[in-house]
């Protein structure tokens, strides 16, 4: 991916190199290439442009601080992780005060048979363990199902957006989500997580 240069856009490896050189153009190039992509992720979670833009700035700062020493295999994935974490943190803190009408909220409501509401503190250790389980689960899925799961619950994309990407109906995506939910539930139960 990084080898081909789009019009006016640096390849990923060159952008990463700018980070390693501590060249502030790294931020500019990242912004040119990935701003809309990253904003979309944050918006899906927060449904608030101002908050999303703040997350974007935090992401750039996070990337700046992380590279070096980190040299990501996929800059796009790396940035997605940062902005998602940033947005999720903001989502959780905002949600304590008010309901957030975002795609993420809706996506989580779809998992009503698996997830319950939150009142307690988050357990970081457990989250890591569950993350491993979910990673394993995702590896077991077909590309299509993995894509739907990640789009919906990781990227908090809307059903219509996913359907458009896959070239199928929203109804189809909904049905596949139902299957994935059932499989996830089975997986989590099998791993001993109460749901």
């Amino acid at each position: 991916m990084g080898a081909t240069r789009e019009k006016g856009v640096l390849p990923d490896d060159e952008i990463v190199e700018l980070y390693f050189k501590r060249d502030e153009r790294a931020i500019v190039e990242t912004d040119v290439k990935y701003k809309s992509y990253l904003i979309a992720i944050a918006l899906g979670i927060l449904n608030d442009m101002a908050d999303s833009e703040e997350c974007l700035n935090d992401t750039y700062l996070g990337a700046w601080n992380a590279m070096p020493p980190t040299r990501p295999n996929s800059l796009k994935a790396f940035l997605a992780v940062i902005i998602r974490r940033t947005a999720i943190d903001r989502y959780k803190s905002t949600k304590r005060k008010k309901r957030i009408s975002s795609s993420l909220t809706l996506a989580l409501s779809e998992l009503e048979g698996i997830l319950s509401d939150d009142n307690d503190k988050d357990g970081e250790l457990e989250a890591v363990e569950i993350g491993l389980v979910i990673s394993e689960f995702l590896r077991s899925l077909s590309d299509r199902k993995m894509y739907i799961f990640m789009s919906r619950y990781y990227m908090a994309r809307s059903i219509s957006e996913i359907a458009e990407r896959l070239g199928c109906s929203e109804s189809t995506v909904n049905k596949e989500i139902a299957t994935i939910k059932r499989q996830l539930r089975s997986k989590l139960e099998k791993e001993g997580y109460s749901i």
Binding site: R96, R99, A127, G131, I134, M146, M150
Partner: protein, 697 residues
């Protein structure tokens, strides 16, 4: 698992998974939008394919005159299209359902003048029922455009109230079918279900079904999915098909357990060999196909071929009701998710004097683990609840008891000569019951002596209700205009504490949200809404009490309502279990088949406390979800869209602090205001839950 845990866990997904996703996402986003079901379109657009578009309509009696069943067709094979000829510039062929249930299917050219094919049905169906059913389903008009030839074999064609069966001869010019089957004779089954219309082609080895759905945009139809013997082909809607169906009397029923889970039940009744039941269950691409065979006297089954109604129950079970042509007997078939089914005879009807009240006046039904509750309105206009129990021996028994399901006021209670109160254990069996007679006596006992029938016309009837209170199950009945309340029943010894004159009609004070929701769970989670009447008040327009600056919440088994404090009937969100309607502002949604969906599975869930399925006035299938956190969604099952209520809180953590009416764009609207922790941070939303004002600082 908590939502936050899940979100955090996703943050720890391994990078290789994420990279796999990102790569796929990049690849997908770099592609132009893929056209849906390209191979279908390709096939359909190919010059020699059959394009089947549906718009079926019934031409009523006048059309029957044009193509009467007894009139033999002029040609059973069109000279221009039949016999394997490939017409150079073929006309559009229109399959016009002249009189589906009268047993005639006419296929004619698009100009409507010629009538190349005509298929006689068996003529057994009730045409009025058929029209109604078909009209509801949008089964309207079928047209076939083909440059190849299709001829219909009249000899092997027949029509039932659910489908048309006929055979066609397809020549090599029909790409779409020939690609799959080759040229030759194919069985064709056209049927409709809740989702649309299905045309199935089969060569007795393989089948291919085309699923059409009503188009939202133009009231037309669209080809949505194709299924074949090889399973999922395109989309994920299931269609049924089997060549066996062609030879058998068939009733099929499809419904969605939820928006993504579809179950279908099909009966195939052989004339002479009994009957078979097939169940297709589809969850996306996974199809399970269960065959359940049972023997039933053919004479009996044929007597009951008139399908009165069928419905899906909240836990995924199905119930069919049939009645004989003479309308004297009824037959029920109840199908459990396990595949078991039970056939119940007319004894299943509670009221002998009004056997069709069950059908004619609508019905609410719910099924919990071990018992079924049927609610209907009898001749006198009273609502009756009948509870039948599936015993450990696998049979249905009517452990009948009745109670007035809406209120516990004397005027509204059901009159009975003997009143039974029945409680059920977790195993679904009758746990205990209490019997109150017209002399004012009551008897508490273990089960085993419950009368299976009742009559509602006895003038000395007693009236009553029961519920679950602070001291366990209580019973209330009225005798000589005096309300008798019984608590602490000792079923072993038949003793109980009788508490007379205790008021159980209390006003519902505005609750803190958690209490409301807890009460909600109690109300709906326990045997379909046993109320704690000290918490709830009967939903009654005339009894609404208003208090400035607060939102009132009322609930009983008749429904729940969130009332604002202004005198405007349009301003509340109501779930009226009594007549099965969802009232939202000035819109009313009626549950399908008058079915009240209160799924025990859902109720046990931590999040959703109520699901309500209904149909809007314009026919759209809706589901109403009330979450424990107070949010609700109205979900369109048809389109999979959240119509309104998207992530909008009815009860936030800190509750609704204000509600009322105001003007918005010239209309009087209900507004809800959300205030955080008493600070002046306020959102105003109108009745459609659109954000009107954001007053947050």
């Amino acid at each position: 698992m908590k939502k936050n845990e899940f979100l955090d866990a996703l943050s720890h997904i391994d990078m290789d998974v994420l990279e796999r996703y990102v790569n796929m996402d990049t690849a997908l986003s770099s592609k132009p939008p893929r056209k849906k079901r390209t191979w279908v379109k390709k096939a359909l657009l190919s010059a020699a394919c059959v394009i089947i578009a549906l718009t079926m309509f019934f031409v009523a009696t006048s059309r029957m005159t044009t193509y009467p069943p007894e009139t033999p067709p002029e040609n059973t094979t069109d000279s221009t299209t039949g016999g394997g000829n490939i017409a150079p510039d073929p006309p559009e062929i229109k399959l016009d359902m002249v009189n589906f249930f009268g047993g005639v299917l006419a296929i004619k050219n698009a100009d409507g003048k010629s009538n190349p094919f005509e298929v006689e049905g068996d003529g057994r169906r009730d045409s009025s029922l058929g029209r109604e059913q078909m009209a509801q389903s949008g089964f309207a008009q079928l047209s076939v455009t083909d440059k190849a030839s299709v001829s219909v074999d009249r000899e092997d064609s027949f029509v039932t109230d659910r489908a048309i069966y006929f055979k066609i001869l397809v020549d090599e010019g029909c790409d779409l079918l020939c690609d799959r089957f080759g040229a030759g004779i194919l069985d064709v089954v056209i049927t409709n279900n809740n989702f649309g219309t299905i045309i199935t082609f089969s060569d007795n080895k393989d089948y291919c079904s085309f699923m059409y759905e009503k188009s939202k945009e133009d009231n037309g139809v669209v080809l949505t999915d194709i299924f074949s013997t090889n399973g999922y082909v395109s989309g994920s809607e299931i269609v049924w098909s089997t060549s066996e169906a062609v030879q058998r009397f068939h009733i099929g029923y499809t419904y969605g357990v939820d928006e993504s889970h579809i179950r279908e039940i099909h009966f195939f009744w052989d004339v002479g060999d009994g009957a078979e039941l097939y169940e297709l269950e589809v969850l996306n691409q996974e199809i399970s196909y269960t065959t359940v065979s049972y023997s039933l006297l053919v004479s009996q089954i044929m007597d009951y071929y008139y399908n009165v109604y069928n419905q899906g129950l909240p836990n995924g079970e199905l119930r069919y009701a049939f009645r004989s042509r003479g309308e004297e007997e009824r037959l029920y078939i109840h199908i459990f998710t396990s595949g078991e089914f039970y056939i119940c005879d007319s004894a299943y009807i509670a009221d002998e004097n009004d056997p069709f009240a069950f059908y004619l006046r609508g019905m609410n039904a719910s099924l919990t683990d071990g018992h079924i509750m049927l609610q209907y309105r009898d001749e006198s206009g009273e609502d009756v609840l009948v509870q039948a129990v599936r015993g450990s021996d696998g049979e249905f028994r009517l452990n009948g008891f009745l109670f007035e399901p809406y209120s516990i006021t004397e005027d509204d209670a059901v009159n009975l000569p003997t009143l039974y109160f029945v409680s059920f254990g977790d195993d679904g069996e009758v746990h205990s019951y209490l019997r109150a007679d017209t002399d004012g006596n009551f008897t508490a006992a273990k089960p085993g002596h419950l009368d299976p029938y009742f009559k509602s016309s006895d003038p000395k009837a007693v009236k009553g209700n029961w519920g679950r209170g602070e001291n366990g199950i209580y019973f209330i009945y009225f005798h000589n205009n005096k309300k008798i309340t019984i608590e602490n029943v000792d079923f072993e010894n038949g003793e109980a504490i009788v508490i007379n004159n205790r008021s159980y009609t209390l006003c519902a004070d505005p609750f803190p949200p958690d209490e409301v929701m807890e009460s909600y769970l109690t109300a709906f989670g326990e045997k379909m809404g046993i109320t704690r009447d000290h918490h709830y008040k009967v939903v009654d327009e005339n009894e609404r009490e208003r208090e400035s600056g607060s939102l009132r919440f009322y609930a009983n088994r008749g429904g729940v309502a969130f009332y604002p404090n202004e005198d405007n009937a349009n301003g509340y969100l109501g779930l009226n279990c009594a007549d099965g309607a969802i009232i939202y502002g000035d819109r009313i949604f009626y549950p399908e088949n008058h079915l009240l969906f209160v799924s025990p599975e859902i109720l046990r869930d931590d999040d959703i406390v109520l699901r309500y399925d209904g149909t809007s006035e314009d026919g759209e299938s809706l589901s109403f979800y009330l979450h424990r956190d107070g949010t609700f969604f109205v979900w369109s099952n048809t389109g999979g869209d959240v119509l309104f209520g998207k992530s909008v809180a009815v009860f936030e953590d800190n509750g609704i602090r204000l509600s009322g009416f105001g003007e918005y764009e010239g209309r009087s609207e209900y507004f809800g205001a959300w205030v955080d922790d008493g600070r002046e941070e306020m959102l105003l939303m109108n009745a459609s839950f659109k954000l009107v004002y954001d007053l947050r600082s």
